[in-house]
């Protein structure tokens, strides 16, 4: 009886269908869990958490500086690795005020805690330096005015107004120091290079240099004054330990009373924080501030890579598929191309450094930039060489995808074109390439996904921890407004940023949320780039759908 039932089951292959379905389900579940974990952890960074005021039991040694109260955001509650008889759970608090305490996180045994409260007056201040400050505002000291106590009616509006003034001043400092002084520095460098030319008009150049140096001194003075003014107004904050600290308003990036926020205010605050994270420059060795330069660098590098990889891959595939005589030799080339896709990426990095940077870049420098002397222009890592290295690494993917796409063009299309008297090249150009464009884009999508996420080779050919300027700007010569791509410039990259934050920063515990958020945005960026390519591919598919052949 059993055999009768078994046989059709085996013949129909049902168990195998179940196995494949289970394999797929397992894979999907793992992907969803991973993405969910990253998204949850990454997004929760921006959610303004409540600040707990913790009062410890009398006699507890866990307090800071002998104080019995602590204020901080609850990070997590966990079981102790070595439980004591006093309890098995401990909590981790983000206490902030790194400048006062020398640390930002504190573990507390639950057994030590007498009570926890969330008083509304607790304030969280995001500062330029020293991380967040957490405490109760006491009074505002504005230069030339009498002190304003925190419970005074005008306190809030004065604070907001003075912080806005300070932020405007910070923008002015940035403009003067980075843009105006930067432009003068470039002009000075140009003048110095011009002086090396023996036939240069020394008198005129010296005059210009003197003028520039005078202007430089004026601007530097202006910047100094602005900087000094940033410390004019101060906020006195009492920490949970009772200590009072002065915070210059020029230091304040943002402030909030998280225990007073409604849900809607929390949502707007998280969008605000998320936007700041996306649009701002990093601060404090990348552990604070935003990731805009990294997003931009990744984006520019990936686009440049795409521009380089598609023509090369397509041309190679056309030759392999259409013109090369199919045989052992072509088969060997094809195997080699496929193997190239499997070469560890660091090998490409080393090759890029040795070939692109030193050989190609070095030659460009000695040919076109002799006046720069020993300072390399293209002879050092940069966004161009990084893109070229990435293009080289991903070109096999494009070649394989293009070959497949060309092979999939129906014979009817090819024959129809040839029967009209078209040459082989005309057929390729006007029939085969348009019809295989969607396939080529599939290759590009795979290439971009790999290229955008790669870190190891980039570390050798142009990625840096902190790039002072973006690789694209409109500030080539102060007056110019045309976007200019600095192909020789080093750049920041999200992948490297993750590595740097998570594993190179002095306080990895503090950087952990940033790592999650950065990872999330790296994934989102790859997704956005891919979606763009997918949209183009769908349009091409509709346009060049080859009907029923």
């Amino acid at each position: 009886m059993a055999t009768k039932l078994d046989k059709p089951l085996r013949v129909a292959g049902e168990p195998w269908v179940w196995c494949t379905a289970m394999g797929l389900t397992l894979g999907m579940v793992m992907v969803v869990l991973l993405l969910g974990l990253i998204a949850w952890n990454g997004l929760s960074v921006f959610w303004p958490k409540r600040v707990d005021l913790v009062t410890l039991r009398a006699g507890s040694q866990a307090g800071i500086g002998g104080s019995r109260t602590l204020a901080g955001e609850l990070v997590k509650r966990q079981e102790r690795t070595a439980p004591t008889e006093r309890g098995t759970y401990e909590i981790q608090l983000f206490v902030g005020n790194r400048d006062a305490y020398d640390f930002s996180f504190k573990y507390l045994d639950e057994a030590d805690i007498e009570s926890r409260a969330t008083p509304p007056e607790l304030m969280v201040i995001e500062r330029m330096e020293g991380g967040d400050a957490i405490g109760t505002p006491v009074r505002l000291m504005v230069k030339g005015e009498s002190d304003l106590a925190a419970d005074a009616g005008a306190f809030l509006s004065r604070l907001r107004a003075q912080v806005e003034v300070a932020q405007a001043r910070r923008a002015a400092i940035l403009r003067v120091e980075k843009h105006e002084i930067g432009a003068i520095n470039r002009d000075l460098e140009d003048a110095n290079r011009a002086l090396r030319n023996p036939s240069a008009d020394r008198v005129r150049i010296d005059g210009e240099v003197a003028k520039l140096q005078q202007r430089y001194a004026e601007l530097a003075d202006q910047a100094r004054q602005l900087r000094a003014a940033q410390a004019d107004d101060q906020l006195i904050l009492r920490l949970a330990t009772g200590e009072e600290r002065r915070i210059a308003l020029g230091q304040i990036v943002d402030y909030a009373w998280p225990n007073q926020l409604s849900t809607w205010q929390r949502i707007t605050a998280s969008f605000h924080a998320g936007w700041n994270f996306l649009s701002e420059n990093p601060r404090e060795a990348n552990t604070e501030g935003g990731i805009f330069p990294a997003i931009f660098g990744t984006f520019v590098m990936t686009l440049l890579m795409s521009v380089a990889v598609v023509p090369f891959g397509v041309v190679a595939a056309i030759y392999l598929r259409e013109y090369a005589k199919q045989g052992t030799w072509v088969r060997m080339v094809r195997i080699a191309v496929n193997n190239l896709a499997g070469v560890p990426s660091i090998v490409f990095g080393v090759f890029g450094l040795g070939f692109f940077v030193y050989v190609v870049g070095g030659s460009i420098d000695s040919l076109f930039y002799p006046e720069y002397g020993s300072t390399p222009v293209f002879g050092t890592g940069g966004v161009l060489w990084a893109s070229a290295t990435m293009a080289l690494m991903t070109v096999p993917v494009v070649i394989v995808a293009t070959e497949e796409a060309i092979a999939a063009v129906p014979r009817g299309a090819r024959e129809g074109s040839l029967a009209c008297g078209a040459s082989k090249w005309q057929t390729i150009r006007s029939i085969i390439l348009p019809a295989s464009a969607p396939g080529i884009l599939t290759g590009l999508i795979l290439a971009m996904a790999r290229g955008a996420g790669e870190v190891a080779p980039l570390m050798l050919v142009g990625v840096v921890k902190l790039a002072p300027t973006l690789p694209v700007d409109s500030l080539w010569k102060a007056t110019d407004v045309v976007p200019f791509v600095h192909l020789d410039q080093k750049f920041m990259h999200l992948g490297f940023h993750i590595y740097d934050l998570g594993f190179q920063s002095p306080d990895s515990e503090a950087a952990k949320p940033m790592v999650f958020a950065t990872t999330l945005f790296l994934i989102v960026l790859v997704l956005v780039l891919n979606l763009g390519a997918i949209l183009i591919r769908e349009r091409l598919r509709r346009r060049y759908a080859l009907g029923a052949f």
Partner: protein
């Protein structure tokens, strides 16, 4: 170069035919696919400005012969041939002859309609564009003329810029015919042009074929014997790679000279 009397006679004959250009003469033609022989010693004179039908059971080599006339078989690896095919007295295997210029003189319509994923207009003028014609008024004129000749003009004149893939199967096939005759070839080869079409569309194409023979030499491969009987002037019967009989269609279908032909057209085999 020596000229035998036979050659001279052939040259004179060829000259006579040039006036009515579009004659195909196939001489002792053998054809091989990587060693396997597909055609055996085919000799036939296809007259100009007439419809010649090639019939025979599947695999008898009629399509192979047709695809040799415009050298479409060159796309296949490992082919070889013996003998010669001449068009208006000139061999198509002349090494000085560009295969693209041969194909401009010998157009081809395929079994499955294969319009390009372009507009109707661009489909029709494709052959002219690849020949380097880009003058808008010339292209417009050629497009209209070709579409009129293929009895498609009235159906598509208002949507020339729309995709050709939106046309019905029969319209697509007529578009392919228009595309072929837009470059004014001398010969139009048709490889089972109606096998994927319904009877009404087939009827239209057959009508069109009758029209085309005023200007073109038409060679059509067909499995449909009624079709051969209806629209061809001469019919060739192939069997196992050999030409059994080539004669006036009326004669083939009424008093065939060979027993095999009679068996085939009366449906006793094949």
């Amino acid at each position: 170069m020596t000229t035998s009397p036979a050659d001279r006679q052939h040259a004179a004959q060829a000259e006579a035919e040039t006036a009515k250009s579009g004659s195909i003469s196939i001489r002792n033609f053998d054809f091989f696919y990587s060693g396997h022989q597909a055609l055996f010693d085919i000799s036939m004179e296809i007259p100009p400005r007439q419809v010649s039908a090639l019939i025979g059971p599947s695999g008898c080599g009629k399509s192979t012969l047709l695809r040799n006339i415009n050298r479409m078989n060159d796309l296949i690896d490992g082919i070889s041939h013996r003998g010669d095919i001449q068009i208006d007295g000139r061999t198509i295997y002349d090494p000085h002859l560009e295969v693209t210029s041969l194909r401009k003189r010998v157009g081809m319509v395929f079994q499955k309609s294969n319009p390009f994923p372009k507009s109707i207009y661009e489909n029709v003028v494709y052959g002219l564009r690849v020949s380097g014609v880009n003058d808008r008024s010339t292209l417009d004129r050629a497009c209209e003329e070709a579409l009129r000749s293929s009895a498609l003009w009235d159906e598509v004149k208002d949507r020339l810029q729309q995709s050709a893939l939106g046309l019905s199967g029969g319209q697509q096939q007529r578009l392919c015919i228009a595309r072929t005759i837009a470059i004014r070839p001398e010969i139009v080869l048709m490889d089972e042009p109606c096998s994927a079409l319904d009877p009404i569309a087939t009827g239209k194409i057959e009508e069109l074929i009758m029209q085309l023979k005023k200007d073109f030499t038409v060679v059509i491969v067909t499995h449909n014997m009624q079709q051969a009987a209806r629209c061809s002037d001469r019919t060739a019967f192939f069997y196992l790679g050999k030409l059994i009989e080539f004669d006036a269609t009326v004669k083939i279908f009424t008093t065939p000279g060979q027993k095999q032909t009679e068996d085939y057209i009366t449906g006793r085999f094949g």
